[in-house]
Symmetry: C2
Subunit: 329 residues, 2 copies
Amino acid sequence: MGLARTTVSRVLNDQPGLRPATIAKVRRAIEETGFTPNAYALHLKGKRTATVGICMENLLTPPAVLKLASLQHRLRERGYASLIEVLEPGSSRRVIRHFLSLRVDAVIFVGHFVGEEIEARIREMAVHATPHIVIDQFGIAGANTVALDRVRGMREVVEHLLGLGHASFGLLGISGTARSVSDRLAGIEAALAAHNLDFNQVTRSLDSRHVRQNDFEYGRALAASFIGEPKRPTAFLALNDEIAIGALHGLQEAGLRVPEDASVTGFNNQEICLMPTPMLTSVDQRVEETVRSAVDLLLEQIDRPFVRLRICMIEPMLVVRGSSGPAPK
Amino acid sequence: MGLARTTVSRVLNDQPGLRPATIAKVRRAIEETGFTPNAYALHLKGKRTATVGICMENLLTPPAVLKLASLQHRLRERGYASLIEVLEPGSSRRVIRHFLSLRVDAVIFVGHFVGEEIEARIREMAVHATPHIVIDQFGIAGANTVALDRVRGMREVVEHLLGLGHASFGLLGISGTARSVSDRLAGIEAALAAHNLDFNQVTRSLDSRHVRQNDFEYGRALAASFIGEPKRPTAFLALNDEIAIGALHGLQEAGLRVPEDASVTGFNNQEICLMPTPMLTSVDQRVEETVRSAVDLLLEQIDRPFVRLRICMIEPMLVVRGSSGPAPK
DNA sequence: CTGAAAGCGCTTACAG
DNA sequence: CTGAAAGCGCTTACAG
């Protein structure tokens, strides 16, 4: 036959020093038999798997999916396949073991997780010298992290509204102790403090009057509650775009004009910001830049393991649209 | 040491006939060293990889992502990990080869692809006896398929509007030759024919006046165009929810009341249907049922290969909301 | 330029 | 009940 396993292997790996006729013969045989090399045998021999494991908090929010799509695209460009798993609380151990058994070159976490769980996983991965990066969530001990500077994002929103003359703010869904909330509160406080305003005097939250949902209906309900109140705020800051749009509709249904009677702002700058009339002012997460930084940091670690811990903050970008305007006189 | 490779292997695979003390000793050693079995060695020995390859058309539309999330969840339940790749035109060969080299147990296609390309891939996979299923796209030769009956979905929309007394219909984004469009046209024609109405007489499309975008702005622009027309339709059927919501806003901006002056319907029943006022009547894709059927068909094939070709139609569900009402007198 | 041999990390008969 | 040996499908020195 003239087709020793060695020869076939050399053809498949484009190694030099083969007669063209031999190459052609091998290629033809491969074509005819539909032969596909077994990746498992390949990697057993030590070839890099060129695979990255991605742990997603969920696949149900547009920003998360946008990150996933972008990650997958960029990794592919660099020659990596991605293995994707949704991480439910408590499942991280199983998922990471699976990734490790598949000898992934690195693991990416996207979203917000139980801190201790991820910390434990990162320690396990360190044993195997498997690099990692956490996208979105600051504050995980020992974790390489890339995340949006949400404090700054919210500060810019408030600065923008202060600049428009607003002095009383309704907070929509921005209450509680979750990290994503506390970052936003910190941003609001910082901006107010810079203008010598007292947080408790100029902001108001009615979140407790409704069951927290973080969706349109929740925003609508919150807006409706504010309508009945004396001293209604002139600007409403929402935790996310969904709540903001719900609130915008709620205000309009009550006969208020946006932005003439009240301004509304969102957060995340999703596509739906373009849908209401007027369109929604929001804070862009800079997904592309986030993902690019994350992939760069990760590949750097794959190339030279044990570099020092990296924390990368992404600057948000305020996108001003029609839903925010001068405060009413 | 008393820790022969054989013994360790037996412990890891929960095989009977080991002394508890031995088991404990092995487990401790595994724990201490952070030993993780090499999946590649495992599968080389013939163990099933318990992995399914998923080819996505894209990850940028909510319905696609919903299917992915649901698929991933159901496969995990059944013990399968999923390998996800976005298929760009022309990349299918590379992606499928990669999946085959990883010895996936099956491949799932989600979305709409170039027919011949997928047909070629399915033929290649047949050589390896690797089962497949196509979700969403009917009409691929030799493909096991699960997809929504879009003809019927659109027929139900028209029946609903006819029942409300409408007799003139504006089509938004429903023009051209794409399969997803022609299915919808077939549904509209069927419903009209059943009521002895002539398609060309009672429907109108102004799609050609704008650059096709399938988004809010396109819907808004189309609605604006219809406003200026004599004999304005009383009902507007959109290709999808985005166009419908854009149109709804466009009509309202022109001073029309929905549904008193004009009805609007969408397609896909995404979450955004709940956002406008009034909320949008739409057609639900029954993602859960689609995915369940697909996974069932697939596992059936994995268990006994070479069963006959399976085509499964999913019944859509019309969801009536405030955007559709009685035709104006 | 091409082929025979060893070995990657496991599992599975088969001895002990 | 436990261990030594073969072999899964490749790649890579090493001979020829």
